[in-house]
């Protein structure tokens, strides 16, 4: 007679690969990835929000490029690790619930809740992050704010999980990984840990070229391959920003405003001011980055035209009629920086319209979304 079907129990899972030995070892690497992603993510958030108490450094010029690249790559590396980790602990989902004793039940349910929170937030962060890197948004929540909020939940749940599991982790890490097991699946525990790390490395290499150019030939799944107008990729075209008409207007002039003083600077006047060239990266929050040779007028030279005091904060406003990044704040230390330019040229030719013609902001160590394009107005605040 066939026994009646019943839900699986923890002891039904017989593979020697499942268990704390693999979970703890893969978990250490997963913890490293989540920690790097959390710290670089909070860092990026500070760069974008520019809170008053924080002076963001302007050197090295590539600092944000590196931290955001790390964010993208540590998140990608975490995907195979998380899946193998979940494989190792999956039987725990079917563990017996101690219904009889109130105290045991409370502890058991609290532990399950903390793990559920970690798994939900962990999968959420990786899924939304990976989709965002390919500019795919199949949801209705605000990506940036929600990815940031859930990051705290995921990292907090991870710290809580380590606290709960510390004795299990210590015991698993001090035991030998292979204890004379006869693997039915053909893979040893050591083999599975190595495969998890290998898969993680492969996942990183398949996307890393978008931000580490010498890996480009291996990065089959990168979202940007280094091509773009004037050999630098873009994230938003002039057409999509609804800015073509305003940018090509024959009466275009850049307004520079300080208090009651407004100077209208035409493109010809901009071109006749002292020009400077700087090699600076565009480092996109979505993960890709690329360096270019930008030529234009120093922002502080423009502010001298309206007599703005040195070190003033400014707001640069785009010609684009809408969008959350229509304007951005430039703090005093960055305004004074000799590498902060209102760029007119890129890689030896006039700025293309998709890169922000007639002129755009380009500054050292700054997220790409804040390198405002199609500048219409510069206001001292």
């Amino acid at each position: 007679m066939v026994p009646a079907p019943r839900p699986p129990r923890e002891r039904d899972f017989t593979s020697t690969l499942r268990g704390p030995e693999v979970a703890a070892r893969v978990g250490v690497w997963l913890g490293v990835c989540f920690t790097v992603a959390f710290l670089t993510g909070v860092w990026s958030h500070l760069y974008q929000n520019q809170p008053a108490w924080l002076t963001i450094p302007t050197r090295p010029v590539w600092l944000y490029r590196v931290t955001q690249g790390l964010h993208y790559l540590s998140g990608t590396a975490a995907v195979p690790l998380l899946l193998v980790k979940l494989y190792a602990v999956y039987p725990k989902l079917f563990a017996d619930v101690p219904w009889r004793r109130m105290r045991d039940l409370t502890v058991h349910l609290l532990e399950r809740a903390s793990v559920a929170l970690l798994v939900a937030a962990g999968i959420f962060q990786l899924a939304t992050g990976v989709a965002n890197s390919a500019q795919f948004y199949p949801w209705s929540f605000s990506f940036r704010a929600t990815h940031y909020a859930v990051a705290w939940v995921a990292f907090g749940a991870l710290v809580l999980h380590v606290a709960v599991k510390l004795p299990v982790i210590r015991s698993a890490l001090t035991r030998p990984l292979d204890d004379g097991e006869r693997p039915g699946t053909g893979l040893t525990r050591r083999g599975l840990v190595r495969v998890a790390l290998g898969a993680s490395a492969v996942a990183v290499v398949t996307v890393a070229g978008g931000t580490v150019p010498w890996l480009r030939r291996l990065s089959v799944f990168e979202t940007h391959d280094g091509t773009g107008p004037q050999d630098v990729p873009i994230n938003k075209s002039a057409r999509r920003a609804d800015v073509v008409g305003a940018a090509l207007s024959p009466t275009y002039a850049l307004e520079v405003v300080h208090g009651g003083t407004t100077r209208r600077v035409t493109l010809l006047e901009l071109q006749r001011m002292p020009q400077h060239t700087a090699r600076l990266p565009i480092a996109c929050v979505e993960g890709w980055s690329a360096a270019g040779d930008w030529t234009g007028v120093r922002l502080r030279d423009l502010l001298d035209l309206v007599g703005a005091p040195a070190g003033s904060d400014v707001r640069v406003v785009s010609l684009q009629p809408h969008g959350p990044f229509r304007y951005s704040q430039v703090r005093g230390n960055l305004v004074q920086d000799p590498l902060t330019l209102v760029a007119l040229r890129l890689n030896g030719s006039a700025l293309s319209i998709d890169h922000g013609y007639p002129c755009r902001l380009i500054a050292p160590d700054r997220p790409g979304v804040l390198q405002t394009k199609w500048l219409g107005r510069i206001e001292v605040t």
Binding site: V79, P80, L83, V84, L86, Y90, V119, A120, A121, I123, F124, T128, V130, A131, S133, A134, Q135, F136, Y137, W139, F141, S142, A145, T146, A149, V150, W152, V153, A154, G156, A157, V159, L160, V162, A163, L166, T185, G186, L187, T188, G191, L192, V195, A196, A199, S200, V202, A203, T206, V220, F221, T223, D225, P229, P233, I234, N235, K236, S237, R240
Partner: protein
């Protein structure tokens, strides 16, 4: 050990609460949309992906010759996990007609190339194992 665990636990709870605060600050509509995705990820793994892996392990793995099982499992893990990280580019869901420089590659063909490479490595490793085990038996 006890003090360390208590400190870590308390820090974890505080960090979670910071996240919850930020989530609540975005309003109810945002929270509901987020909750759907939070729960959806768990369901997709626990109720779809993990049972499928169990099923493959029970139904397919025992049918493979023992010398090929290790390499086959390794290849499966690499290909499955890397493919999952590539879903958004494979589907080209975020492609925009005005930005030909976004998602510029023939990702389907490249995925096929990667899959063939993984299969080739798996077959080579499996044959090597069979050769070695044959030598051990003779």
């Amino acid at each position: 050990m006890r003090t360390l665990r208590l400190t870590l636990g308390a820090a974890g709870v505080v960090l979670v609460l910071v996240g919850v605060y930020h989530l609540l600050a975005r309003g109810l509509t945002n929270l509901v949309a987020t909750a759907v995705w939070l729960a959806g990820g768990v369901v997709a793994h626990d109720a779809v992906l993990a049972p499928l892996v169990v099923l493959l392990g029970v139904a397919l793995l025992p049918r493979l010759p023992s010398w090929s099982r290790g390499p086959a499992v390794a290849g499966f893990v690499v290909l499955l996990t890397v493919t999952l990280t590539a879903v958004p580019v494979l589907g080209r869901f975020g492609a925009k007609p005005d930005d030909p420089w976004l998602l510029p590659r023939p990702y389907g063909a490249l995925w096929l190339g990667l899959a063939l490479l993984v299969v080739a490595v798996v077959v080579a490793a499996a044959l090597l194992r069979r050769h070695r085990s044959g030598q051990g038996a003779s």
